[in-house]
């Protein structure tokens, strides 16, 4: 959209567009409104034809179903389904991603700073990172059983290499003079790594972890779909067996909301802990 000859900056189009506060809101909300509106129209049409159609349930049906799943204990297990699924899934997700972040930081940092370490691990990590984790999922289940370990391992494998490689790149990009200076001031080698370089890498770690969360969710759901007794992904796949879209759609929205909140938290954490980062 090239606006030739326009003297003042356009409100909507062009590289220098400056939408006002109101227009900003409108632009932000527009795609959401369109998506919801399209759904509502399609759902209404379908339900008019067959009031019990399962594919696109009405907002009211979804609300009632979710109310039941959130506030009434399950007949067989006595758990509150939504709460239980959420805690179980979050535990898996956070354990996996936390392990991946710590491992990724240590591996990436040391690969970036110690040439010996780098020679030994860089080709290996690069090689492993190419393996599609989902393709070896059945193997994970066979090795680690159908319990928690296999699911957490999948999330770990799915995120650790991306984090490692990103931390490695960030470490390599650090000016080497810093280390020279630190060493000449009498800091030990490990001190230079963990007290000079690492604190500068930590915000990058949080950001990378934040971006890896999407993949981590994918692996969580995939693992729960294959063999599970509880969890958000388990529920979605179980409901699929009888096409209960009135529960699946709100579950997907719920997963999205949790994911968004995690993203937001990490973003705020970075700007709160490391106000200098990215400036």
């Amino acid at each position: 959209m090239f606006c030739a000859g326009a003297m003042r900056t356009h409100k909507l189009l062009g590289l220098h567009a400056e939408p006002g506060p109101l227009l900003n809101w409108v632009l932000t909300l527009l795609p959401f409104v369109l998506l919801v509106a399209t759904y509502l129209v399609a759902s209404h049409k379908m339900l008019e034809e067959n009031p019990r159609a399962k594919l696109l349930p009405s907002v009211q049906t979804m609300g009632e179903t979710m109310k039941r799943l959130a506030t009434e204990p399950d007949k067989r297990t006595g758990h509150y389904t939504l709460l239980h699924d959420t805690t179980v899934s979050l535990k898996r997700l956070l354990t996996g991603i936390l392990l991946a972040a710590v491992t990724g930081l240590l591996l990436g940092l040391n690969m970036g700073l110690f040439p010996g370490f780098r020679t030994m691990f860089l080709p290996f990590v690069t090689f492993l990172s190419i393996i599609p984790p989902l393709a070896i999922l059945p193997m994970l289940f066979i090795v680690f059983g159908v319990d928690e370990v296999a699911k957490i391992t999948l999330i770990f494998i799915g995120s650790v290499f991306v984090i490692t490689r990103d931390i490695y790149l960030a470490t390599m990009a650090m000016p080497k003079e810093q280390i020279t200076k630190a060493l000449s001031m009498g800091v030990s080698q490990l001190g230079a790594v963990y007290r000079v370089i690492m604190p500068q890498i930590l915000p990058r770690l949080l950001n990378t972890t934040r971006l890896t969360l999407g993949a981590a969710w994918l692996f969580l759901i995939a693992a729960e779909a294959i063999a599970s007794t509880e969890g958000l992904g388990y529920r979605v796949y179980l409901m699929r067996r009888y096409m209960a879209m009135d529960a699946i759609i709100p579950y997907v929205c719920w997963i999205t909301l949790i994911g968004y909140c995690m993203d937001l938290t990490l973003r705020k954490l970075v700007s709160w802990l490391y106000p200098w980062y990215g400036k």
């Binding site: 399209t38 067959n50 059945p138 096409m243």
Partner: protein
């Protein structure tokens, strides 16, 4: 750019319009998925029998493989197909509960050992259903495997509270059971069952031959499907059944073809047919659905489905969908009959 939302809306509307009008002409689409008792549908399509009968009744019938059982039923329920191969249980829980008025056109077979419960024991150990207590049992939750387990437990005065059900994908259950340590348990169907049974120390503690006539595999169609299509499909099916049950070259060729579709050797496929009670004679199938035992079975199925939430979170009771039997009697809501046996 500005027109984009319109284009998307129009595209979506068109998509739905097309899927809904597909059933308006006398062209009918049937979805099937792999199962011993349903391989004849592939044979009907590939051998030209279906086309022959369709021509006779002046209609078009297309039989399409959907390589995922539940997905095929979902697509039928959403309107992409006019008929689908399904068990009575899934037909009740998905299309019928979903408000699609469905008629069981062909009662093809019942599982007579095709579904079974396995436990891996220590060498020399004698195991039974009672030994499931306290174990983790791998199965596709809410499937006929789950129903079989519920029936086996009931027959041994146990309940699902006595064990833990692990929802396991049918794609992985065979490998997981094969590599599991002693104590593992699984409920599955053929051909997975056949392979898993041959694992050392695997014992079959219960199978569907102990509940004959309960896990019934059918072809169900929209009740408003054009009569011509219905007659053509039934005609082609009957001819296929008489070929299958006959003797001679035509029979051998048909069985060999079906084995190939199933991805099995002819011997393996014949072994699977042994545990499938095929209704080669339609009168026998009609006798089954007219029998009082069948109504009892459907009541078991309804109860199981309702107890496990298959009728949806909001269903008030097992009676909320009506099932009509050939004698005109209705189980459940008379004003909401969505599954018909005729």
């Amino acid at each position: 750019m500005k027109n984009r939302p319109y284009i998307i809306t129009i595209a979506i509307t068109l998509f739905f319009a097309l899927t809904f009008t597909a059933s308006a002409s006398d062209k009918c689409r049937i979805a099937w998925s792999h199962y011993t008792g349903w391989e004849p549908y592939a044979y009907m399509q590939e051998s030209g029998l279906m086309a022959k009968w369709a021509k006779k009744h002046n209609v078009e019938v297309e039989i399409t493989l959907v390589n995922d059982y539940i997905e095929s039923i979902n697509q039928y329920t959403a309107g992409a197909f006019d008929g689908v191969t399904a068990t009575t249980m899934d037909g009740l829980a998905i299309p019928a509960v979903g408000g699609v008025d469905t008629t069981v056109l062909i009662v093809g077979d019942y599982s007579n050992g095709n579904d079974g419960i396995l436990i891996k024991g220590k060498p020399g150990e004698k195991l039974g259903v009672k030994n499931l207590k306290g174990r983790k049992v791998m199965l596709v939750e809410l499937s006929v495997s789950h129903y079989l387990l519920a029936r086996a437990l009931a027959k041994n005065s146990m309940s699902e509270r006595d064990l833990t059900v692990v929802n396991t994908s049918d794609a992985d259950i065979g490998a997981l059971f094969a590599t599991a340590s002693p104590g593992a348990a699984a409920v599955t169907w053929n051909p997975i069952l056949m392979a898993a049974r041959n694992e050392p120390d695997a014992q079959l503690v219960f199978d569907s031959s102990e509940i004959p006539g309960e896990i019934v595999d059918t072809l169900m169609v929209r009740t408003d499907m054009p009569e011509g299509c219905k007659r053509a499909i039934v005609g082609a099916w009957d001819e296929t059944m008489s070929i299958m049950s006959g003797r001679g070259q035509a029979t051998d060729d048909a069985i060999e073809m079906m084995a190939k579709f199933a991805g099995a050797t002819t011997a393996e496929f014949k072994a699977q047919l042994q545990t499938t009670f095929m209704y080669y004679n339609r009168a026998d199938a009609e006798a089954l659905i007219k029998s009082p035992e069948f109504k009892k079975t459907m009541d078991e199925v309804r109860k199981f489905s309702f107890d496990h939430g298959l009728f949806g979170q909001g269903a008030p009771s097992a009676d909320f969908v009506g099932i009509e039997y050939p004698d005109g009697s209705v189980a459940g809501d008379k004003n909401n009959v969505k599954l018909r046996f005729r």
